[in-house]
Symmetry: C2
């Protein structure tokens, strides 16, 4: 590497001159910084090379040059993690595709202004890119805002659109790795965009959610269901002042974690609501049920007089018909305490809870961490709360489309969507199995030589297997020991071994051993003709 060291010395000298010259010309700071960064990099590389060569001072530099870790709140996913993740993604993706969905991909960073004003106080959790001269950009915080931006840009072609997107998002939150709250984590969104007749896409989203959760095999689940218009109607009917509706709504949303007495206290003491108004709300938001509850509310003249509540109830009537046709009514719980944090919901809202993810039953007087007000749902944590959530948001795309002369959005694309909390699903599934039991490779056949190595012969056999689309491997040694080959085959949980020896090959024969068989009599495998090997293995693999 001494040639590289000489080159580096030259480059460092030249780069130093460049930096000095830029400084003397009073160039822009960003330009100087960029060249200084290059200089530092070259110096560091040289220090490392010299460290490897042995210079004492350089060694120290090289030793301290790296902190061997991933950035705070991020982690590597190893092969076992990825095997589980890929299974989850493919299960979910199959369901989405069964319902005609396509996928799109948006950049990992957006112009900063695209994200501004979308996340309320949580805006401070947005990661910005450094100003290196050029546009101000930020890492995406969720997949919904980029989707709305995409629709606003391309909406004319995408007025009828079922899209899913599984990708990483970024939040500069305090990481809690033990709880699984990360700064980089996956989201999995499915949305239907377009102007359709009421509640039809909404019902299909719920059906998709039920199919996905069933296929993921994470245990029993319930989908809590409510409607923003019914909630708003209830608040109006009970006498909540208009400007206190969202704060009161967010207090109601805590009913799954706090007992009613605490929620009432928040409403009256913190948010200044009259106690009798709070009590009236309490009568409603404690209600849950199915179509029976809907009938009861439709019979409530106080409520049906209210335009907003009536519209919501009529939507729910339609929805229940459609849920029946889709055979998922039994999974639903019409729950008037479900309020959801995000402001942009305009119609039905829902949240799926599994038995494993349900929060502990609220205890009177207990203190719970309040939910974040603007978070879709806290997907960055696992182990508590919901495994999926969503709702209808008819006005978000309009926020990006600009306004016409009347002050209305140029483009209005109503949307309904669901976000599956894949990180929680992963941790539920990971907890169900031991890491050593997870097979991360897909290899079906291991080629083993008895005797003198037979490397090119093993290669030819592997080559024949690959040609027939059989997943095959062998040990990368010229003359491997037999026990090392068996050990490698067992470690990777490969189901079949092809065993070759010089004499057998000369007779046109090989042996095949079923590695899962406990039958001692076929310890060395069963002998077949070399020419039949591929056919027989294909049959055995088909039966796996």
């Amino acid at each position: 590497m001494s040639d590289r060291k000489a080159e580096l010395s030259q480059l460092i000298e030249a780069q130093g001159n460049k930096v000095r010259s830029l400084k003397s010309q009073k160039a822009e700071k960003a330009a100087i910084d960029a060249e200084v960064a290059v200089l530092k990099g070259l110096k560091q590389e040289l220090a490392i090379l010299e460290g490897v060569a042995g210079g004492d001072k350089a060694k120290k530099v090289a030793k301290s040059a790296f902190t061997l870790k991933t950035a705070k709140g991020t982690k590597d996913y190893n092969d076992k993690d990825m095997a589980i993740r890929e299974k989850v993604f493919s299960t979910i993706t199959s369901v989405f595709k069964k319902h005609g969905a396509v996928t799109i991909d948006t950049p990992v960073f957006e112009l900063k202004e695209i994200l501004s004003g979308k996340y309320g106080e949580d805006s401070k959790l947005i990661y910005d890119l450094a100003d290196q001269g050029g546009e101000e950009c930020s890492l995406r915080y969720d997949l919904t805002v980029p989707f709305a931006r995409f629709l606003a840009m391309n909406g004319k072609e995408y007025q009828n659109f079922k899209r899913y997107h599984i990708a990483k998002v970024y939040r500069r939150d305090q990481p809690a790795m033990t709880k699984g709250r990360m700064r980089e984590f996956y989201q999995c969104d499915f949305d239907i965009a377009g102007t359709y007749d009421a509640m039809i896409p909404d019902a299909e989203i719920l059906r998709i959610l039920c199919e996905a959760l069933t296929n993921l095999d994470i245990g029993k689940f319930t989908v809590k269901l409510n409607h923003r218009k019914i909630l708003d109607g209830i608040f109006q009917v009970c006498g909540v002042p208009e400007d206190n509706i969202r704060p009161i709504s967010s207090a109601v949303d805590k009913l799954d974690k706090l007992p009613w007495a605490d929620v009432k206290k928040e409403m009256t003491e913190e948010k200044g609501l009259a106690p009798e108004v709070a009590d009236k709300i309490g009568e409603y938001v404690k209600l849950k049920g199915g179509r029976d509850l809907l009938e009861r509310l439709l019979a409530d003249e106080n409520l049906t007089k209210n335009t907003s509540a009536l519209a919501g109830l009529q939507d729910m009537e339609l929805l229940f018909d459609y849920l029946d046709a889709f055979e998922i009514t039994e999974k639903m719980s019409f729950d008037l305490s479900l309020a959801r944090g995000l402001d942009y919901y305009t119609g039905i809202i829902y949240e799926a809870v599994t038995e494993k993810s349900a929060p502990p039953k609220p205890v009177e007087g207990a203190v719970a961490k309040p939910k974040k007000s603007t978070d879709e749902f806290d997907e960055s944590t696992v182990g508590v709360g919901s495994v999926a959530a969503g709702g209808r948001y008819d006005n978000l795309v309009g926020m990006f489309s600009g306004l016409n002369k009347k002050g209305e959005p140029n483009l209005k694309i109503p949307c309904v969507g669901v976000s599956i909390g894949v990180e929680r699903v992963f941790s539920i599934l990971m907890a169900k199995q031991k890491p050593e039991a997870i097979k991360s490779n897909e290899t079906e056949v291991y080629v083993i030589a008895v005797g003198d190595g037979l490397l090119t012969e093993r290669m030819q056999i592997a080559s024949d297997l690959w040609k027939a689309d059989v997943k095959a491997a062998f040990l990368f040694k010229k003359k491997p020991k037999l026990d090392k080959q068996w050990a490698a085959c067992e470690k990777d949980q490969i189901p079949f071994a092809v065993i070759i020896g010089r004499d057998e090959l000369d007779r046109g024969e090989i042996r095949i051993k079923d590695m899962r068989s406990k039958d001692e009599s076929q310890g060395g495998g069963v002998t077949y003709k070399r020419d039949d090997m591929v056919k027989i293995l294909k049959e055995k693999i088909a039966q796996l």
Copy 2:
């Protein structure tokens, strides 16, 4: 939305107080900036809401609030793009898995110091994250350095490791969108890490590369092959001074784009090499062939006297035996002009060129843009150059592992790998077909009602199909017009339609139409029993 506006006004006031208070306490700049960002976001949201409501001044704010575009050098991939991309990824992934590979995932950003000193002058193209308090981080520039960092951290468990990684990387280069050079683009890497007998994993990597390129169906290709030790030996034998070997090597690497006279000029005039030394090099690097060339070089006593050259030639001898066993020798071109830019290669190097991607034949005296010295290969551009490249790099992991008391790396994991230029593959494939011919959804059956809408009946039929894993859809209208339903079915290129009518349903019948059939006699489809519908459709789909 007036409730949200009221809430925003309150929040803005409170946030303003918070910022003022922090400033008066002389809090850290990063802390103040974070709160100011929140304040700006809240103000912007309010402006937008007021814009929607119609206030003239607010409207102006709202109109200017968004530049509706993706960040410079990035783009959205729509459903058609993604359909092609997913096909490419799954083709490549199948080949990797056939060879026993697993995948890992590393974070999109790394500690800045991990990337420093790895990319020479190209370090200035690294994207940094803003300093928002905490660690200094940068977006990954490639997948190789994070992989080496992963191995250095987890290497003891991963001494024998075939891993692939398909993910986006980031380079703050001048984008050339028309040429397809992006700031965000995919890389697709396959590497084998571990200490094995010489050239065995190297041969399997070449086999994998050949299988992948064949299956991708991008036309004929050739894999150019060379060995760093042979090249270094040639340079030594011809009399290149030690500290000029890398610069001369990088001049040689331009021989695929420049005629020999220009390369010689660079060697002598720019790099100060004696003309007779350049001529000696010229005799060697113009050579290409197969095993015949290897024999010729092995007979060259001048060369075999050189330790480095001899070691390289012995490697090549082994490799040719293994390539024969893997039946890929005919795809190879042993090409002494292949030098590759990256410094870290230590053994064989290779580059795949398709007929479509081959650069135009060099013309004497023509000026070509020189290759970047440190780029794996310029994967961010498409249309010219190689479609895949790689080589053996035995010392990179050691750069991360720290040094022991003797000044040697704590952990040495030799690696050999290949990077497939998926962005080039995409553009080759996209150029082969019209966008409208790409089917991005996978829907197999469209449910159509004749007559009175029959919404819940269509829903029930879809539900039955979904239950049987048939991909089905229908129009989200209560009473859709017949022509709208046909149009939707045709637009999405759905192969089968189930047609239902009131009378037929009452008789327990439905009709199935093969949308691809030109047989006019079955224009309205063929009648079947409702109970047989799923079975018949499954049979028809299996024949697709």
